[in-house]
């Protein structure tokens, strides 16, 4: 009986979270409507709230982080599933990557402030001088920038990509590999033509789930991205994300600003839940497909 109650509570919890946030966001939803999503101004003093620049910052930083982390993640997943180096080395690397997932976000932020920000300042100036004609690299260069946040985010989502990609690589049936070897293919011809294509849906799912994780990541981003609500295409200028916006403004907010922040939180929940459900669906679909191969 107690178990039944606990189960019901767990299921109700999600509804409760969504309900509570939507209820508190309702005044802002009624006041700003869809203009909240398309508005480019966020100035609590004047009662104007629009999150378009923040939405763009959220998607852009997460997308960039995913693109940076994906090649590395696939390389590590291959490294862990193939036998390039002896098993103890692979176990060591696997443990280290898992540890990467366990380090608190705020420690990444602290590390980013003292290591990544100076690096971005130094090399960002060089990049901006050479490639400044592209809007993505236009100056002036800031250390607290979208690029800094994306670099650290990439590191933080690497374990997600590695773990899921590795699982889908390992679940490629051994017979396929043997068949390829029997036809005279080398190891890498087998990997590129047989194993990676078979595992591709799982790798795509890992990228989607990592993207979802990156969008929800808060503290490291809040410490590194510069928290600016101005619209800018340059990766080297400050930006903001939904979660960083919440982290920075909630403690001092009152009145309609609280409601507007709740609205932003609701958007964040919808975005991350949507991405996660899509990723899980993809993953489940793949698992069925690979099982069919066996």
């Amino acid at each position: 009986m107690a178990c039944w109650i606990a189960s019901c509570l767990t299921v109700l919890l999600l509804a409760l979270i969504l309900g509570e946030i939507l209820a508190k966001a309702w005044p802002a939803i009624r006041a700003f409507g869809f203009g909240f999503v398309t508005g480019v101004q966020w100035s609590p003093n004047r009662g104007v709230f629009g999150v378009l620049p923040v939405l763009i910052g959220t998607v852009l930083s997460s997308l960039l982080a995913m693109m940076l982390a994906l090649p590395l993640g696939i390389a590590i997943a291959l490294f862990l599933s193939e036998d390039f180096l002896p098993a103890p080395v692979r176990h060591g690397v696997r443990f280290v990557v898992e540890l990467l997932a366990a380090i608190p976000s705020v420690v990444y932020g602290l590390w980013g402030i003292f290591i990544v920000i100076p690096l971005v300042q130094q090399y960002g100036a060089v990049i901006s001088k050479k490639l400044g004609f592209l809007p993505f690299f236009a100056g002036p260069v800031y250390g607290n920038s979208l690029l800094t946040a994306s670099l650290v985010l990439a590191l933080m989502i690497l374990p997600t990509i590695t773990a899921i990609s590795r699982n889908s690589l390992v679940s490629v049936p051994y017979a396929l590999r043997e068949g390829s070897y029997a036809l005279g293919a080398t190891r890498w011809e087998t990997i590129l033509a047989v194993i990676l294509p078979t595992a591709a849906p799982g790798i795509v799912a890992s990228a989607i789930l990592a993207f979802g994780r990156a969008m929800g990541e808060t503290m490291a981003v809040a410490m590194l991205i510069g928290n600016s609500q101005r619209l800018s295409w340059s990766l080297l200028s400050p930006s903001n994300t939904l979660s960083a916006l919440l982290a920075n403004q909630f403690a001092e907010a009152d009145g309609i600003q609280v409601s507007a922040l709740m609205y932003a939180a609701a958007l964040l929940v919808i975005l991350t839940l949507g991405v996660n459900v899509a990723g899980e669906f993809f993953l489940r679909h793949t698992q069925k497909a690979t099982l069919g191969l066996r």
Binding site: L13, I17, I21, A193, V277
Partner: protein, 295 residues
């Protein structure tokens, strides 16, 4: 329809352009690249661990755990209040989430594994793991802070409880799943009731793995900043009641990291050292406990 097959066939056939030397070199090159990229990721991790140890370890002493943070610009002192605050809030979260998570896991795995409710619990737990940690904070803000009109460690505890509930539930379910079916059948065959079987046979057998899940949850909760940032806020003083703003290690790192005072930044590094040591130790222990059971 035939085009991709044709291309695939070309990939393997040595049609004269691909000499065996080319294939050999490409094979070696890609292997090297793969190993190189994998080892490259170790660099940031070692950089983090190195800096945390280098900047945090020299400060480590008893005063860190017993004294209050210094006033801005001054030196000396520690973060005893932040450690105590973290312990209190993680404790509150455990009190709420451990019974709930384990009971729900028992229901899902022992009583009605195929029921609609069990599927619902699994689905919701999976979704909750995907919810950003800051949303737990937003919920606790809406439900507790806005109702009681004050920041408090209760609100922080509620946020952390929601954060760790799915971890505890899912690891407990895995732990129960790993108990062999024959144990249950033997117990039931000897005349024990379903309830006796769960309490005397299944739970004791699954306990080490469940405890590991709880420890991982503790390590995670202790390091999380976003859920407590605007629910428990921060305080310069010792915690006196559960209904007032409370310091925590993670929020302290966040606050001190952007201060212009060298000693406060050192304190942030020392707090990072404590947190990183905590997650490393719990991860190593969980490896030791979970590894042999993995197929």
């Amino acid at each position: 329809m035939t085009a991709p097959e044709h291309k695939q066939a070309n990939f393997f056939t040595n049609d004269g352009k691909r000499t065996s030397l080319f294939r050999l070199i490409r094979n070696r090159f890609l292997t090297g690249l793969c190993i190189g990229l994998s080892l490259l990721t170790l660099v940031p991790l070692f950089s983090i661990v190195f800096l945390v140890v280098k900047n945090g370890l020299p400060l480590l002493g008893m005063n860190l755990f017993t004294e209050l943070p210094p006033a801005p610009g001054l030196e000396g002192g520690g973060f005893g209040n932040a450690i105590l605050g973290t312990v209190v809030m993680v404790g509150l979260a455990l009190v709420a989430a451990v019974p709930l998570g384990i009971l729900a896991a028992i229901y899902v795995n022992e009583y009605a594994p195929d029921s609609l409710l069990a599927k619902g619990v699994r689905f919701v737990a999976k979704l909750l793991t995907g919810i950003p940690s800051i949303i737990c904070g937003v919920f606790a803000f809406a439900a507790v802070v806005m109702t009681t009109h004050r920041f408090s460690s209760i609100a922080g505890g509620v946020a952390l409880a929601i954060l760790i509930l799915p971890t505890i539930l899912l690891t407990a379910e895995q732990a129960l799943l790993a108990v062999p079916r024959a144990f249950r059948e033997a117990s039931l065959g000897l005349g024990a009731t379903h309830y006796q079987t769960i309490c005397r046979i299944v739970l004791p057998e699954a306990l080490p793995a469940i405890m590991t899940g709880v420890m991982l949850a503790v390590a995670r909760a202790a390091g999380e900043t976003a859920p407590v940032l605007f629910t428990a806020l921060f305080s310069q003083n010792w915690i006196r009641s559960l209904m007032e703003p409370t310091a925590s290690l993670s929020v302290m790192i966040y606050n001190f990291a952007s201060l212009p005072y060298a000693y406060h930044i050192k304190l942030a590094w020392a707090a990072s050292f404590v947190l990183v040591a905590l997650v490393t130790i719990t991860n190593v222990i969980s490896q030791v406990i979970f590894r042999p059971k993995q197929p």
